[in-house]
Point group: C2
Chain length 204, copies 2
């Protein structure tokens, strides 16, 4: 489960499945297309993963993990709020620049049956990690170093500015009239833009 650069058949399947599932989602994905991309046939595909569901679970589990792992690690460490925010922005933007279709995939599938997926893939791994973030924010507010703000809203704002452009890319490009090159250019600047935006918004 999740070997990286092994060129075995199983690995070829996982890579093919990832690309197809990410692009088309569970419902739109075809076992035939996955087999083709892995340069094998459907029979062999079912030999390695007995069902489409089983294959999907493998892919989705990896995606969810990649999507959540950063947040967990950072939220739970005991560093000043400003550093925490910078780490989250940098860590996430970094990961997303390499996995631009990841959040759309996770969000789309997670939405089909939230409870089921959460129960299946996140066995209580994320619990009161978030309370550590709330504490950090509250501490800064109490000390008068930032203006009063509900930590949950701050978190939503941050995570929204980071993730949404990747998810809503086509819409943004249409409305703002951006071609691919312009969009990519903006994405590279965005790390610093977001950090500054948040910092300014929090000034006491």
């Amino acid at each position: 489960m999740s070997v990286k650069s092994d060129n075995s058949t199983e690995q070829k399947i996982l890579e093919a499945a990832e690309s197809v599932f990410h692009e088309k989602g569970y419902d739109g994905a075809r076992m035939q297309e996955i087999a083709d991309k892995a340069s094998i046939n459907k029979g062999l595909l079912h030999y390695y993963f007995k069902s489409k569901d089983a294959l999907f679970d493998a892919i989705f589990g990896m995606a969810l993990k990649r999507m959540m792992s950063n947040i967990n690690a950072i939220l739970s460490t005991d560093i000043p709020l400003e550093e925490k925010i910078d780490l989250i922005v940098d860590g996430y933007m970094n990961m997303l620049s390499r996995n631009s279709s990841l959040p759309r995939f996770v969000i789309m599938e997670l939405n089909k049956d939230p409870d089921r997926f959460i129960a299946k893939h996140l066995n209580g791994s994320i619990q009161n990690v978030f309370s550590s973030f709330i504490d950090s924010v509250q501490k800064e507010i109490d000390a008068g170093r930032i203006r009063p703000i509900d930590p949950r809203h701050l978190f939503m704002n941050m995570i929204s500015m980071i993730i949404f452009p990747y998810v809503g890319r086509p819409m943004i490009q249409v409305v703002a009239g951006l071609d691919n090159k312009e969009f990519q250019g903006l994405m590279q600047e965005r790390r610093e833009v977001i950090k500054l935006f948040i910092k300014q918004a929090l000034k006491a």
Copy 2:
């Protein structure tokens, strides 16, 4: 195309199709389920809309229009930036609170073949409307009333904070440990939270 409270068969179909397509997406939607929800049978469904594609186009066109119309109207009017931002936030949050599944649906489907959908449904309706927003921002910067910022990033930040929570709701609820009631409560406060956050972030 797009009559509202007419209880004809066509209207029942459109309402049923909207709910099913929004919830399951094109690939996950079943003509049978739409027929059931509209209390008719598949034969009649195909009598009104000759194919699943045709029915989907009707639904998606309406969704895209609802999603884009507000922005257009507001961006193109000639009012001060701060009012423009407030109008966008209020208008969107208002619309989204009544159509919470809309952005996810549009984003997911738009992504499957961006160019095709845009060519089909947005015949140049959005053009240089956005340049009016850029001008507004630049004017404020030049006058020293807000700090320098790339208007495109400002736009992304704004639209992200508005839309993302609706799209990424399950993920946010998991990470932040929010139950449905808490989440809905936050969504109601959010209008003012976002406006203030932006205002602070733009202070000269």
